[in-house]
């Protein structure tokens, strides 16, 4: 049926074919030009920002004592890596922070998913617990860190706990919403086909909510790092947060910025891994529905 339609378009004259080639070539040129422009802009932007920073601090317009200096930050980075810190090597400290953030991330994500799925499916439970979740969510959670440090000491556990608390609410609300957004027709369909409540969850609810949950993991890991760092600043024996608070105490802004850079690299790497996971788990999805996926 469709074949007859395309058949009429088949006999294209030679002149037309040339025109098509011409259009193609110019379209490709335009695309290459745009790509070059984008990359030029991408390189130019940090050159202006970092160069300007370096320039203004060198000229003394901006005080490098308070605001640091890119070259100084680089020196601090090199010193951190080669000479280590007062609290052991930078790698050991970084490992401590990553471990705390990662455990917190796992704990918070796990709890968020389980509770989100549970409350999303059970309206009665959601109505009972709902207001309290809102109340707890309105607590400034960073302050909880202070309580955790006092209650559980300077070890790993309070850091993991604070990271988990920060992660929990993000994942929880997404999982909850994901369950609520399930297509009721799909549920009716499998129910009629004889699915038990558990099978409804396995075939419909969980895969459907997974889109929302995975989307939340991007933000969640960033928050896990924040939780671990803040808890370390509040009190620790090891970790990047401790180095930061120590450097702040001695007005060593370059080291603060250096630590910030290290943690950004870690977060970027984690973000990359989560994107890989997302691509693998959500391979069924139509290709990028939103422009923001490209950023």
């Amino acid at each position: 049926m469709r074949g007859t339609v395309t058949a009429s378009a088949a006999p294209v004259s030679l002149g037309k074919a040339d025109a098509v080639v011409g259009i193609q070539a110019s379209a490709r040129r335009a695309r290459t030009r745009r790509k070059q422009l984008v990359w030029f802009g991408r390189v130019l932007l940090p050159v202006i920002v970092l160069g300007g920073w370096q320039l203004f601090t060198s000229l003394g317009i901006v005080d490098k004592f308070f605001y640091g200096q890119p070259s100084g930050i680089w020196h601090s980075l090199v010193t951190l890596v080669t000479k280590g810190t007062a609290f052991g090597s930078i790698w050991m400290n970084l490992w401590v922070t990553i471990k705390e953030a990662f455990y917190g991330f796992l704990l918070g994500t796990g709890a968020g998913i389980v509770l989100g799925l549970l409350l999303g499916q059970n309206r009665l439970l959601a109505d009972i617990v709902g207001p309290y979740i809102k109340v707890i969510n309105s607590i400034p959670r960073i302050i909880l860190g202070a309580i955790f440090i006092v209650a559980f000491g300077l070890g790993t556990f309070p850091k993991v706990l604070l990271a988990a608390v920060l992660v929990f609410f993000i994942v929880f609300f997404n999982a909850f919403q994901g369950v609520r957004e399930v297509d009721p027709n799909l549920v009716a369909n499998v129910k009629v086909l004889g699915a038990s409540p558990l099978q409804v969850a396995r075939h419909v609810t969980i895969p459907s909510a997974l889109t929302w949950i995975i989307a939340s993991l991007h933000t969640a890991f960033g928050f896990a790092i924040i939780g671990a760092l803040v808890a370390e600043v509040l009190g620790a024996q090891h970790g990047i947060g401790l180095i930061i608070s120590q450097a702040q105490g001695t007005f060593d802004m370059n080291t603060v910025f250096a630590c910030m850079t290290i943690m950004s690299v870690v977060t970027l790497l984690a973000e990359y891994l989560i994107t890989l996971l997302e691509k693998r788990v959500l391979s069924w999805r139509p290709p990028s529905r939103s422009e923001s996926a490209g950023i």
Partner: protein
């Protein structure tokens, strides 16, 4: 395949009434004293203006919802819980977007406890029947609307249901695709002969497909009139039937009955707006 259908495929609805509580706390009667019977293997269509409780009726037969009064019997037994041997088809495709075409069709047999290799075999066979061989590994979003409908049809038919409930299944399709899908549905129905309860607002569709057309009034929904469609079976191409004299006569008769309802429903919504 199955010429003779046991009585278990008979749907008997008597005095069915369904009331809902609106968010404002008022009682809304969606269905009022609905009574009709679908004989085993019969293709029954319900036509009526939008919002007259057609879909509510289907939910009652499937056992997804309980009646406020009256009785719904399938195969002589009162419906309680999910009715066995039923398949549903919706206006939306109701396919799993995260499952491949093959996995989508396999859901029914898998839930019935069929071993996986047999289910794959059966699903492949059904995809061949609806003309989708070679598309097993695609995802629903990669298919056209008509192809998705075929997948939904295979998924609904694969369990060889005794009763097929269809809620405006072709409502969202373009006219040409709709006609093709209707012809294919008739083909499959003639092979399996399930009892069909087919909801539509398209009178032509109802007359072309069904043995019996019920007209439903709105606010509250109840059965106004029933027409037997004596067009011969097999009907063949749906598009060809539309030009037959008998088709036009029946269509005329039924439209006369339906017209008032549609106008009243329209006046109500226009008045409310």
């Amino acid at each position: 395949m199955a010429e003779w259908k046991p009585d278990s495929a008979r749907i008997e609805i008597a005095g069915l009434t369904k009331r809902f509580l609106t968010p404002k706390g008022e009682v809304f009667t969606a269905l009022q004293d609905v009574t009709f019977t679908v004989e085993p293997g019969q293709f029954c269509a319900i036509v009526g203006p939008t919002g007259c409780g057609k879909s509510t009726t289907l939910g009652q037969v499937a056992g997804l919802d309980r009646p406020s009064a009256g009785s719904v019997k399938v195969g002589g037994r009162e419906v309680s819980g999910i009715t066995k041997g039923i398949s549903f088809m919706f206006q939306s495709d109701a396919l799993f977007p995260w499952k491949t075409v093959l996995a989508n069709v396999m859901v029914g047999p898998s839930l019935n406890g069929m071993p996986k290799s047999d289910a794959v075999e059966l699903a492949r066979d059904w995809l061949r029947r609806v003309g989708l061989a070679g598309f097993e590994d695609r995802y629903p979003h990669q298919l056209s609307g008509g192809m998705r409908k075929r997948v939904a049809m295979a998924a609904a038919m694969i369990n060889e249901p005794q009763i097929l409930l269809m809620d405006e299944p072709f409502g969202a399709l373009d006219v040409q695709t709709k006609a093709i899908m209707q012809t294919e549905l008739l083909g499959l129905w003639e092979q399996l002969r399930p009892s069909v309860l087919f909801i539509t607002h398209d009178l032509d569709e109802a007359v072309a497909l069904a043995d019996r057309v019920l007209i439903m009034t709105s606010g509250p929904g109840s059965i106004k009139e029933a027409f037997d469609i004596d067009l011969p079976r097999p009907r063949g191409e749906v598009q060809a039937i539309r030009h037959e004299r008998r088709f036009l006569e029946l269509q005329d008769q039924i439209w006369a009955s339906l017209k008032d309802e549609v106008q009243q429903a329209y006046a109500r919504t226009a008045g409310a707006a």
